[in-house]
Amino acid sequence: MSETRNNNLARAWRFALPLAIFFGLVWFMWKGLSLNPRDLPSALLNKPVPAFSLPQLHDNTKMLTGADMKGKVWLLNVWGSWCVSCRYEHPVLNALARKGVVPIVGFNWKDKPEDAKGWLVKFGDPYAFSVSDLEGRVAIDLGVYGAPETFIIDKAGMIRYKHTGPISEELMNETLVPLIQSLSKA
């Protein structure tokens, strides 16, 4: 009597265990499908923006430093004229600039200044300031590994948000603008 029960139990296990393992694997693989391997957590999130001093794109005798932006909520956008996704993103940045909720600093990364200036004339210039990082050393301090990248920095100079890849209109309206507004109130 108890032996048959034991047998039944053993049989149930023999079915249940592989089934459980199978569903476990399915869950991991399913999750793997929806992960974006490019979406790395930024090591700099909630850390101060690294100190930098870079020449301005339109007048390289003038420098812009992180300290110049202290006391303001600002958005840093890493881009290059060689970057195809940046062109795709650009109309969204123009729209954000028109809203006037945040000064956008353009971080022109490893780009020829003439190319960059021509590009801004052609597609519009949403940037309150443009700086150029010809050698890419400041970009390394920022942990940049692909353009476009977007950072939101609060009044105290802390990085509060980072997005890798082009900003969509949806992301701007649903995430960036609300975050900028709440940081500006703080």
Binding site: C83, V84, L134, G136, D141, G146
Partner: protein, 175 residues
């Protein structure tokens, strides 16, 4: 025969053809856009004077332990991407300023996170990654051992068949 099938499908799917043409157009447009994009180029990593052979050897080894972040499954040493060149230069500048390998790794880790290390560190959150395969291997070994032991036992215990059964079996096999 062949032409006939072609004409009939062609006549039946004018809408499909239009869709295909549109696909082609967007493909050509995409290629043109990429070609236009390539007129602009990244500025190259500035040239550096040649370095001492021992430093070069040390950095070559260090670069194999760091990830090229653009091409995610290559080490820095293998990668031709622009950022990889910049990172190699950064590593060299750090090394020349007197930093040791651990300090250089820490410097990059503070900027790019653990991901920049080609070999993930052993921490509580990476235990599954490091030890999971061995646990699975062990589980597999135990299951194999148990199953083979059981079948071994049943084979040994299998009774010798009678002549009658043998005859029936060979008859079945002949059919």
């Amino acid at each position: 025969m062949n032409t006939q099938t072609n004409t009939s499908t062609g006549a039946a799917s004018g809408a499909f053809m239009a869709g295909k043409a549109r696909q082609w157009l967007s493909f050509i447009f995409g290629v043109l856009l990429m070609a236009a994009g390539s007129l602009y180029a990244q500025t190259p990593t500035p040239e550096m004077p040649p370095m001492k052979p021992e430093l070069e050897a040390r950095l070559k080894k260090l670069e194999t332990e760091l990830r090229c972040l653009v091409c995610q499954n290559q080490t820095l040493a293998d990668s031709p991407a622009g950022l990889a060149g910049d990172l190699r230069r950064e590593i060299r500048l750090l090394a020349e300023s007197g930093k040791n390998n651990e300090e250089i790794k820490e410097h990059l880790k503070a900027r790019y996170g653990d991901f920049v290390l080609y070999k993930p560190p052993v921490e509580s959150k990476t235990w599954l990654l490091w030890f999971g395969p061995f646990v699975l291997l062990l589980a597999g070994a135990i299951i194999t051992w148990r199953v083979t032991r059981r079948t071994g036992a049943t084979t040994a215990a299998a009774p010798a068949i009678s002549d009658d059964e043998r005859r029936r079996a060979s008859k079945l096999l002949d059919e």
